[in-house]
Symmetry: C3
């Protein structure tokens, strides 16, 4: 694992353009600031490409998408590709509606992504939509377990080979893979699923980490995934010490932990295994 | 009052589709998770009905509405009716603009709602708009007091009889009524009005409670109203114990309390009276 | 400096219509409540002017603007002018895209603003766009320092003379000026820049303070700027006393401090200098 990944973020303060859902957008902005980056949100066709061009990275999240913002995602994605910028796709809800599955597939066709970050069912939906049109086997399990870990890593590597993107498949065990190498990450806490936006926030952090470490996308993505999980652990410990606290405090504690994180703490706390 | 209403929510984890305003949407998502449900937000015509169909309930909130989202509300509402799903209407700001009053009235015409949750002035505006077109008496007081409680309960029952929906009229004293029965609820704290979104959050919780308790809509709605008020009380007590804290901490404490709530605590803390 | 500015806000509870970005809208609503005002958000053409007409003030913030909301900003702005209401412009990201710079310039042409609140680069972009078309000197420094303070105050006064608006230029040192008088304000904490929305929140507070103190716009704006900075200081002190806390707690602590602020605390804590 590369060293100084977080230091590089805090020194560069990478500017990330986010076209993202209005549910968790405030948390995405605040965690981007907390992790050392800087957020800009802009979703109108008339400025999407221009805003992208002044940033170092683009984070596209399809939650609460609509016809207008999908157009902006395409314009911004193509501009980011033309400029060689980091691009992250978060296919929120792919599989839950035709609009989301097709939009994610369309984005994958039209834009080269540096990283795709989703849960198993979202990535399966994307794969399945590829699979349908291309005749590949789309028979993937529904979640990553110790038992199917090898198989899921193979799927992630294959997905990466197809798309050219680092794949971050997050769940109880996280997998981060490119076509050749993979990490299994066992940080995090089950309570994170009781907060909206932990996935969206992670995708923002992934973008910032990758912009500041462009030659190490696999490691930068893995570090971001481990960092988010570790913040979930640190936040949970703090929660246990605070009478009457619950899930809303937990959200605050996670973002707090991200704002205090550095490479030393991450190295000490991350539970990562090269596969 | 039915037993185990909250237990049923926590066991079922009801999925609720929210078409809601962007001001308080994050709080609605987080309190839905905190109360034991699961939120999905989707407001585009191209997916509104499809997302509704994979959920158990639909929560329509007209704050920050626009032509596009109103169309989605209608499509989702009709689909929810066709599938026999729980539907909640939160007519935010009805009475404040023609667009809101008319949209709420239009929704009432086109969609059968399981529950309508609003403050007195919003419900009066809806009633008045019915009244105008139907010649009924719309002369209702501006807020519920101990003095006019009987009269306001009569209004709520009448409103329920007209619409077929359980009516949740929230304020200093809350009234929850169907055509025949009513509850007066005296939980809550005045400081709740200094937080944006307590009403929106409550409507989300109402949806989750009703999806998990479909045969007891009146009791489920009353329990949700009492639960929100009780969380306001628990949060206020905690606030008193925390130096320098204020309204933003209060919001956190309320959602925290919801995440820790169970049937025992609710039964012990609720101040509810059958009328 | 006028007395009782905050008392006037808390007594009047001024209603402020906000057409603002979806990133920080929840914080804007909550800080408006915390400072003693009351927020309404509405951004559709079909109701923008009508909602404005029931309020005392209008706060236009161009972050995450789009063609639909720009139209609403114009309609609401003209209505507010016709009714003699307080109008605040927050030109978020002016200079970052042509759409934002031109929209801000267009708004300045079409609407008379009581106050314009932005950082140096946003105000420079607005000035530059005026400058380009009108041949004025647009050579302004990039940030306010003790060294260029006189020059920047001259710029703010000139900008005010051109626009008729009180200018609030915020940064490490804040300048609040009308055509003749100016204040330099040295409240605040550097960590405020690690929270999204401190500027947006301030613009909301400025609107509330001005609505409640319409004869003292310069002082009301200066008080709001100092109040926000002082809340940043109070929040930072509290942060130092809380183990494991970070930027998300800081956001909460700032809004908490605003909800507890009064004229006495502000007078004691504000670091303001008439220039």
């Amino acid at each position: 694992m590369e060293k100084n990944l977080i230091k590089n973020v805090r020194e560069m303060v990478p500017l990330v353009h986010n076209i993202t859902n209005y549910v968790t957008v405030n948390d995405v902005a605040n965690i981007l600031l907390a992790c050392g980056g800087s957020p800009i949100m802009a979703d109108d066709e008339a400025e999407a490409a221009e805003i992208t061009s002044i940033c170092g990275g683009l984070n596209i999240n399809i939650g609460t998408l609509n016809a207008r913002t999908v157009q902006s995602m395409l314009l911004a994605g193509k501009k980011a590709n033309a400029l060689g910028h980091i691009t992250v796709l978060d296919p929120v809800g792919a599989g839950a509606s035709k609009l989301r599955t097709e939009t994610a597939a369309h984005l994958l066709d039209a834009v080269r992504f540096s990283v795709i970050r989703g849960n198993v069912s979202e990535l399966k939906a994307l794969w399945g939509s590829e699979a349908k049109t291309k005749g590949v086997d789309a028979d993937i399990a529904d979640r990553v377990t110790e038992e199917n870990l090898d198989e899921m890593i193979r799927f992630a590597k294959q997905f990466s080979a197809k798309t050219g993107a680092v794949i971050a498949m997050t769940g109880a065990i996280d997998i981060v893979a490119d076509a050749k190498r993979a990490y299994a990450i066992r940080n995090g806490n089950g309570l994170m699923s009781k907060i909206t936006g932990t996935g969206c926030m992670l995708s923002g952090v992934v973008a910032a980490y990758c912009v500041a470490n462009p030659k190490h996308l696999l490691d930068a993505t893995a570090a971001a995934v481990a960092a988010m999980g570790l913040c979930g652990e640190i936040g949970f410990q703090r929660l246990q010490q605070t009478a009457l606290s619950g899930t809303s405090s937990y959200r605050t504690y996670m973002i707090d932990a991200m704002s205090n994180l550095n490479d030393e703490k991450l190295e000490e706390g991350m539970k990562i295994e090269a596969r």
